[in-house]
């Protein structure tokens, strides 16, 4: 027997990027606890549409926790209260009948709200464009073990590469800093032999880009690693710091 609950939603509504925006209250009735948070919003939107009102705009794509499109701040927590979970994988069984849920978009100077809960996260793309790549052609597949990679390095690189770029680290950071994102991207390439030749250039350029895009400064509050749906550790921020010092003090990189 499916359990259903009724909720009161306080949702951020904003017509467009220029609009000031405000909270609006709406009811979510007969919500199955087996639904995901986004499915709950779908049901609410169907009701709004039937009533001739504008549905709530929110970002989503794969709905299986791997694409990084979804994400809002639910009751003050990025991606909601569950640890290591994207919003699409947050299920309504974690809420109780009669709960009031506040839903807000990511808030940061670098992330502009486009409509309701949809934010422009292209600033994260800006950090990647500054150096989050390897600028040689990969060519055909090599024989295995041509480039020896120690298993622990491969594991750490994979841990960092789990970043889906959802922006929860920025949203949850008290300073709206993107250091966990940048740290993960710099780390996952710096740990592998293919990424080493450009490691200094990459660290230097990506940190500069991150600052220019209007993100805040990291003060080691550790909220990012606590909220990251992929549970990426701030060990990656420490590694980025080391890569940055190497680039700034011991390489030819300047300006």
């Amino acid at each position: 027997m499916t359990k259903t609950i009724n909720l009161t939603l306080k949702v951020w509504r904003q017509k467009n990027a220029g609009d000031k925006g405000k909270f609006e209250t709406c009811q979510a009735r007969n919500i199955s606890t087996d639904m995901s948070f986004l499915e709950m919003l779908d049901v609410v939107n169907e009701g709004l549409t039937v009533d001739g009102k504008e549905p709530i705009a929110f970002d989503h794509d794969c709905r299986e926790g791997i694409c990084g499109m979804c994400g809002t701040v639910v009751n003050g927590r990025a991606h909601g209260p569950e640890k290591g979970t994207t919003l699409c994988q947050l299920h309504m069984r974690h809420f109780d009948d009669g709960d009031t849920i506040a839903i807000e978009p990511w808030r940061a100077r670098a992330f502009k709200v486009l409509k309701d809960l949809v934010v422009d996260r292209s600033a994260l793309d800006g950090i990647i464009q500054a150096g989050g790549y390897i600028s040689v052609n990969a060519g055909g597949a090599q024989d295995a073990n041509n480039l020896p990679v120690p298993q622990d390095k491969a594991d750490k690189a994979m841990d960092a590469a789990q970043c889906i770029g959802c922006g929860a680290c920025v949203a949850s950071c008290p300073n709206a800093s993107a250091m966990l994102f940048a740290g993960a991207k710099i780390s996952h390439l710096a740990l592998l032999p293919q990424g080493r030749p450009e490691a200094a250039k990459r660290a230097w350029a990506m940190v500069k880009a991150m600052d220019a895009l209007g993100f805040g400064n990291c003060t080691n509050e550790r909220e990012c690693e606590a909220e990251c749906p992929k549970e990426i550790s701030i060990v990656n921020i420490a590694r980025m710091n080391r890569e940055y010092y190497k680039a700034g003090f011991f390489s030819g990189e300047k300006n």
Binding site: G76, E104, A108, A110, M179, V207, N217, G248
Partner: protein, 213 residues
């Protein structure tokens, strides 16, 4: 700009300056406390410590100017970061909860920092920029801690210092890139222990002096 100021000018560069100057202040706190422990022994031990310290002459002047330089870097960079971080989120959340990362120390860092700066100015006015003719530092200390107001201010200031250091010490290591599952738990523990030692070691001086003298 040259490569050096350019490296220090970014978000990570500013962090590095906070970490290095902050660690230097942790070292200063440790030596300052070691010296001040002579207060618990009595006037003779304390005066002999003060005399030995001042016999260092130019080294003391060098240390004072170094501390002042470090303080200017720490305060100026800290205030810049505080302002930039405040600006980085123009629209605040109406509901914001911690996910468990923040501590009392990390949450209050800029505020405890500003309070400490005000305290240090008062502290220098009390014991450094004071007329020492016809008296000695022991008498100045005991006179100061005759006042309930000063006892209160000094105890509160030491609690504030302990809170500031509890985040600052481990945070400095993280900033320097020293973070590894092997020893990070130890560094985090050390920060708490160090802050408690600072808080208790300094904080009980006014109480001890007011009771024993």
């Amino acid at each position: 700009m040259n490569w050096f100021t350019d490296t220090l000018g970014t978000s990570i560069g500013k962090k590095l300056m906070m970490a290095l100057t902050g660690l230097a202040f942790c070292g200063f706190l440790a030596t300052h406390l070691a010296g001040n422990l002579t207060l618990y022994v009595g006037s003779e031990a304390f005066l002999s410590y003060a005399e030995h310290l001042h016999s260092l002459g130019p080294l003391i002047t060098l240390a004072e100017w170094s501390l002042l330089t470090l303080a200017i870097i720490h305060v100026a960079t800290g205030l810049t970061l505080f302002y930039q971080n405040w600006r980085s989120r123009p629209v605040r959340y109406s509901v914001k909860k911690t996910a468990g990362g923040r501590t009392i120390g990390s949450r209050t860092m800029p505020y405890t920092g500003i309070l400490l700066l005000l305290f240090i100015i008062l502290h220098l006015l009390n014991f450094h920029f004071v007329d020492k003719t016809g008296t000695n530092i022991w008498n100045i200390v005991t006179d100061t801690f005759n006042s309930g107001g000063y006892i209160f201010i000094y105890i509160i200031a030491m609690i504030v210092a302990a809170v500031h250091v509890s985040h600052g010490l481990w945070s400095a290591f993280q900033t320097l890139g020293v973070d590894h599952p092997k020893y990070t738990p130890f560094i985090r523990g050390l920060s708490i222990v160090f802050s408690v030692i600072i808080g208790i070691g300094f904080g009980f001086i006014p109480i001890f002096i007011s009771i024993s003298v």
